[in-house]
């Protein structure tokens, strides 16, 4: 038995060895090195653009399926066809991404992830095949790649921050610590294939202030920290998180609270204000809706951070749900499960808006100030809905998409649809 397998054994070993080497070289050249220097080849944006085109085509096929499956040997015009366009039109008027943000969204365009398609029924073998290929790519290629990157990023963070911690305090140490943090977060960003667009960077938070952002998922931290250096706030955890926390605090002062300290509001407020008073320390990053699982901490940060009386830099983060649902329903999924889902999605596309700093006004109490900041963030994130296409220059593509709808509908009328319809032709023309 063994002698039979022997020649194949070494062959398999060789193949595995080669593929690992190739993978690691690719990783290093295309992902890690650019991350270290903060440059980008633009591979992710290209990937995002091709995904968008693919989603549009499958959406078209899916949505017209109602008309296409009307049945009968001779499809012909029916006056009720107008309802199809009518329905889509009114749906787009009613559809609202801002208020939908807190429930897992039902996507109009099926983005080839089964978990987002709740009404899936067999439309065509082509679409199913496409989905199957998608699964293979996502779980077989993207997921291992991303997990490797994630481990690399986290590992480097721990090791390098510990090394930087050995330096004496001073400008050199701060400079190195900033670089190390940025680099590792950038690797993590690539580990999630996050494609982030930063707007209004002139409003980026400065030392001696608090950065406040809306909170959709734990990834928010990584997204913000890869563009700027912040002091993190949180509870001391055990295990891997604890190791990471202890390493990070060696390189630059983050604020970690013991479990017992968390309940003492005055202690929390004092530590935060002490940190802010020291202008050499980084701005504090806080999510008023709370990152902690322990709800009592959430209550305290909500008022606490606004009572301190320093400048607040609001930040709005908005995710594009077509690429993967970033929302974390913590009652349904644990952290590891959530990260796995994130890493096996197509990509995470989001926009970050830095809003101008705000301070508490005369006669305003903490709660009113907090509401004012939240309203500003909501407004910015809400505006994103209708101006979402700004960064992608989809204006031109949209016109073509309208014509595509007309073309497809005409084919239905004239009666030669499924046998000759090929979406390859559509991708090129789109």
């Amino acid at each position: 038995m063994e002698s039979y397998l022997f020649p194949f054994d070494s062959l398999i070993c060789m193949l595995l060895g080669i593929s690992f080497t190739v993978l690691f070289t690719l990783l290093l050249v295309f992902i890690i090195v650019p991350a270290i220097f903060g440059v980008s080849f633009g591979i992710r944006r290209l990937y995002m653009k091709s995904l968008i085109k693919l989603f549009e085509v499958s959406e078209l096929m899916l949505s017209m399926s109602v008309i296409l499956q009307r049945g009968g040997a001779e499809p012909e015009f029916d006056m009720s066809d107008i309802f199809y366009f009518c329905r889509r039109g009114v749906e787009s008027i009613v559809d609202d991404e801002v208020t939908k943000r807190f429930t897992a969204e039902e996507l109009e365009s099926w983005n080839l992830l089964t978990r987002s398609n709740y009404n899936f029924h067999h439309i065509s073998t082509r679409l199913t095949a496409l989905w199957g290929v998608g699964v293979l790519i996502r779980y077989g290629f993207l997921l291992p790649l991303r997990v490797t990157l994630a481990f690399t990023g986290v590992g480097l963070l721990v090791v390098l921050t510990s090394i930087v911690g050995l330096f004496p305090n001073g400008r050199m140490k701060n400079y190195l610590s900033d670089k190390v943090h940025l680099m590792c977060y950038r690797i993590c960003v690539r580990a999630l294939t996050a494609i982030i667009t930063y707007h209004d960077s002139e409003n980026k938070p400065k030392n001696g202030g608090i950065c406040v952002a809306n909170h959709t998922s734990p990834i928010d931290v990584i997204i913000l920290a890869s563009d700027g250096c912040y002091a993190m706030v949180g509870q001391v955890h055990g295990g891997l998180m604890g190791v990471i926390q202890r390493a990070m605090v060696k390189a630059c002062p983050h604020i970690w609270f013991e479990r017992s300290e968390v309940k003492d509001r005055h202690l929390v407020a004092k530590r935060l204000s002490d940190h802010i008073a020291d202008k050499s320390k980084l701005p504090i990053l806080i999510f008023p809706e709370g990152t902690c699982i322990n709800n009592t901490s959430v209550m305290m940060f909500k008022k606490g951070s606004f009572e301190i009386g320093c400048r607040v830099y609001p930040v709005a983060i908005k995710y594009d749900p077509r690429f993967g649902d970033a929302f974390w329903n913590s009652s349904k999924f644990g952290m590891v499960n959530y990260l796995l889902r994130m890493m096996s999605s197509w990509a995470i596309v989001c926009s970050v808006w830095y809003l101008p700093p705000m301070s508490r006004m005369e006669g305003e109490d903490a709660v009113q100030f907090a509401n004012r900041v939240k309203a500003a963030i909501a407004r910015k994130g809400g505006l994103a809905d209708l101006l979402w296409d700004g960064g992608l220059k989809r204006g031109k593509v949209k016109e073509v998409f309208k014509e595509e709808q007309q073309k497809l509908y005409s084919k239905v009328l004239v009666g030669n649809i499924w046998p000759t319809f090929s979406y390859e032709q559509n991708i090129e023309s789109v």
Partner: protein
């Protein structure tokens, strides 16, 4: 998120809209949030430009006609009441409504009212008849440049022939209702899930 917007909508208004349109309280507040986010000029009313800013609507072949349906005759602003009235046509019919008292007046989302909404999309000059030209116009919007005039003309002629019962070469509302398939014509997904 929508908390500031909903505070501008008073309880009495919500009750009235609820009675008129049949939407639930949470649906109304949610749609008010949506109305508010579409209203760029912040003057409590939507103009045609506000609608056209919605990307999916802009690419809809019948987009302009649908937008038109929101605006009453000759006006270019629609307030929240009007917005809700038009949307109410597409509210899915709840089960408990089917047994409602027939004398209380027809709800806005009855089948007849939905069909009348569609009829008005065809009937641009509001003379209660769909002429061959009006039908051709809508067909042309839906197919773009992909079908020749003659072919489109014959499709239109055939449709009128099938529907027209009184020989006036136009489709009246009653003829229109007769040729519509019996199944419900609903917009279900968003409004249902929104509640």
């Amino acid at each position: 998120m929508g908390s500031r917007a909903s505070s501008l909508l008073r309880e009495e208004d919500i009750e009235e809209i609820k009675k008129q349109t049949g939407f639930s309280h949470s649906q109304i507040t949610r749609l008010y949030s949506r109305f508010h986010s579409l209203d760029k000029g912040e003057n409590g009313a939507l103009s045609r430009e506000d609608f056209q800013r919605i990307p999916e609507l802009a690419i809809n072949p019948l987009g302009d006609r649908i937008i038109n349906a929101f605006f009453p005759e000759g006006e270019d602003q629609v307030n929240f009441r009007g917005f809700m009235r038009t949307l109410a046509h597409f509210r899915p019919v709840e089960d408990n409504e089917k047994n409602k008292d027939p004398t209380s007046g027809e709800p806005l989302n009855s089948r007849t009212n939905k069909l009348f909404f569609a009829f008005q999309l065809y009937d641009l000059d509001r003379d209660d008849k769909i002429s061959r030209d009006e039908l051709l116009q809508v067909l042309r919007m839906m197919v773009g440049v992909n079908i020749s005039d003659e072919q489109l003309g014959s499709i239109a002629d055939r449709t009128i022939q099938e529907a027209d019962t009184n020989g006036d070469m136009c489709i009246s509302f009653s003829e229109f209702t007769k040729v519509m398939p019996g199944k419900a014509i609903d917009i279900t997904a968003d409004l249902q899930n929104g509640a």
